[in-house]
């Protein structure tokens, strides 16, 4: 059993709500350990009530099982708390291409960070002329915005 191989399997596990992002891109996957013949996967929830966590655990087991890894333990940790800073650069690009504005890359969103909590631009036409519709969107991790140039509404992955 090689850790790299296991990680590459887990990189194929995507978020059920945002299928363009893997759990590695999202920063949900915190650690992989091999202990004897058991694999210990450590994950952290984005938000306390994120309903995707149960589905993600099932998907992790399924992906590993298909690849022949049967003995799997999944630990869920809360500390340090997940922050959108852990979204990988590749993940942010994938989000934008999918039509979801990503949190700004120039600031930290973690506790004490100075991250401004609004998107830089519309993910469709890149205009900076945007307005917030609601602080809460279709999932816990998103807010709802509207572009005042192209008039399209869009999701914003919150600075958190």
């Amino acid at each position: 059993m090689k850790k790299e191989n296991i990680i590459s399997v887990l990189e194929g596990v995507t978020d059920p709500e945002i299928p363009v992002l893997s759990i590695a891109d999202l920063g949900i996957l915190r650690d992989v350990e091999i202990s004897g013949n058991e694999i210990i996967v450590t994950i952290t929830p984005t938000y306390s009530g994120c309903p995707a966590m149960d589905a993600i655990q099932q998907d992790i087991r399924k992906a590993l099982s298909i690849n022949g890894y049967e003995k799997v333990k999944i630990n869920q940790v809360l500390s340090p708390p997940w922050t959108s800073d852990w979204l990988s650069a590749a993940g942010k690009e994938k989000l934008e291409a999918f039509g979801i504005a990503a949190p700004s890359t120039s600031h930290s969103c973690a506790a004490g960070g100075t991250g401004s909590d609004s998107p830089d631009h519309c993910p469709h036409c890149h205009s900076k002329n945007i307005e917030m519709i609601s602080r809460f969107g279709s999932t816990s991790c998103k807010a709802l915005y509207r572009c005042l140039e192209c008039r399209e509404p869009f999701d914003y992955f919150k600075c958190h």
Partner: protein, 258 residues
């Protein structure tokens, strides 16, 4: 049950009962975006309550290893109303949008201060939950404060409804800041927080917003007049109805799980 275990359950019950109340708006919000907003807040609160019940269950199991181990579900679904330790404020009926908003506003400010205070107490499990929850509650505070201003400084009708909401909810506020015996004991051993220490900060935060909203301020003199003490298990009639709905499935089909 140790004072600290009871305290964790008190925190969990607060989050669960308000989460349940807020979730009653799902599908009934005034407009879709706000329906989604309140549903998201409900989800955050229920998620926080799950983390707290898990922490309480772990503690209870490790303190009494000889007893059959319990889970978060036992704590949420198999306790009766006198065992619930949530604030009476949180079980009140939703009323109109103004009353629901005002309750979220009052409680999210309280929760923010409480969890901040718990960050440097002695229990790492509770500190981790607090740190995680604070990030979510900051959003609840912002959202509900914006609504308090919009309604208070809005139309004659929305202003009048906020005045009604203040009348309906203010009597339930003193309970938040009067420590229960288990709370005092757990605070003295460095695990919990005495809520009376949060009052001044809470008052100044909510009154800043109420002033902006052209609403009467929360009266600063603390009223210790007789009122129910939900954190000690004395509840209004509303809690029983919430539990009847929430616990029905588990009571009718004992042990069923997803």
């Amino acid at each position: 049950m140790s004072p600290f275990s009871t305290y964790i359950i008190h925190l969990a019950d607060n989050a669960l009962i308000l989460g349940h109340r807020n979730s009653e708006w799902t599908g009934h919000g005034p407009i879709l975006e706000q329906d989604i907003a309140l549903s998201n807040i409900a989800l955050d609160l229920i998620g926080q309550s799950r983390n707290l019940y898990q922490l309480a269950a772990e503690r209870l199991n490790s303190l009494s290893p000889e007893r059959k181990s319990i889970t978060e579900d036992d704590l949420a679904y198999l306790r009766d109303s006198t065992e619930y330790k949530n604030f009476v404020l949180l079980e009140q009926d939703n009323g109109d949008w103004a009353k629901t908003i005002l309750r979220e506003f009052y409680f999210s400010h309280f929760q923010l201060l409480q969890y901040h205070g718990l960050l440097n107490r002695k229990d790492p499990g509770l500190a981790a939950i607090s740190e995680k929850s604070i990030k979510e509650i900051r959003y609840h505070v912002k959202w509900s404060s914006e609504w308090v201003c919009r309604l208070g400084d809005g139309t004659l009708e929305s202003h009048a409804r906020m005045l009604n909401a203040l009348d309906a909810l203010n009597p339930w506020i003193p309970e938040l800041f009067i420590a229960a015996d288990y709370e005092k004991e757990a605070a003295e051993s460095g695990l919990a927080l005495d809520p009376s220490a949060l009052y001044e900060d809470w008052l100044s935060m909510v009154n800043t917003v109420l002033a902006n909203a052209t609403l009467p301020l929360y009266p600063p003199e603390k009223k210790d007049a007789f009122s129910l003490s939900g954190k000690n298990g004395f509840h209004s009639e509303h809690l029983g109805y919430i539990l009847a709905e929430m616990q029905f499935l588990q009571r009718a089909y004992p042990g069923c799980s997803w």
